[in-house]
Amino acid sequence: MKDAKANVSPDSLDAVFRALADASRRELLDRLRADNGQTLNDLCARLDMTRQAVSKHLAILEEANLVATLRRGREKLHYLNPVPIHEIGERWIGKFERGRLQALSDMKKALEEGTGE
């Protein structure tokens, strides 16, 4: 079990990639990133999707552990859970590459925003 790959089981990887392979579900994650802890009603009010569709997508995201939920009284709050994405990062991004990749990503961002020198 010393192999770093052992840290992410194939089944959990499948669930995460399957959940991410859908534009509507990525949209839901973006909505939660902008405003964490929303109810199903909050999410439906701001999206052009049926309540049933939002509910189904949230269930898939929750199974993949990309959305975490919390009960507050009668309400169920939905949170973006980035932990599985960090776990995937560990698998393919070595600890020595991390700094260089961050620098590259910062440079791309700066150039695309037109703020790079």
């Binding site: 089944d11 802890g37 199974e63 552990n65 919390l70 994405i85 560990e90 600890k95």
Partner: protein, 150 residues
Amino acid sequence: MSKPNFVYVTYIRTTPEKVWAALTDPQTIRKFWFGITAESDFKPGSSWALKFEDGRTADTGEILEAVPNKRLVIRWRNEFKPELKAEGWSRCTMEIEMADYYPDFGGKAVKLTINHETAGPKFAEAVSGGWPKVMANLKSLLETGDIAFK
């Protein structure tokens, strides 16, 4: 009660006892928390502090609830950055339970849920950068005996 700013969940193939031990043992905390460790006896009402490797205090607070192998609640304030300290007290809840591990595939694992109700936006930002890495490290340590982020 205000709603938490963040809820983080990870599934770890281990036992609740081992997760509790990792969260409350200073020597183990140091391994998955980038050299930071905690000083506390983890009893309700006791003081609690996070310390950097050089001995400086990172955060301080109080243990509000401690149910071994189940639940730990900490009243928490940053101490080393004035702008974070100025935002005041936050509340961190850690819950440990057995759950289905990725339900499609069966099997059980420990579900560790950490939520943090922060008082202000700067502390919230600091927390959101840190917890996912700390949790990924803890999972890695308990499942493989090694950590990913150093």
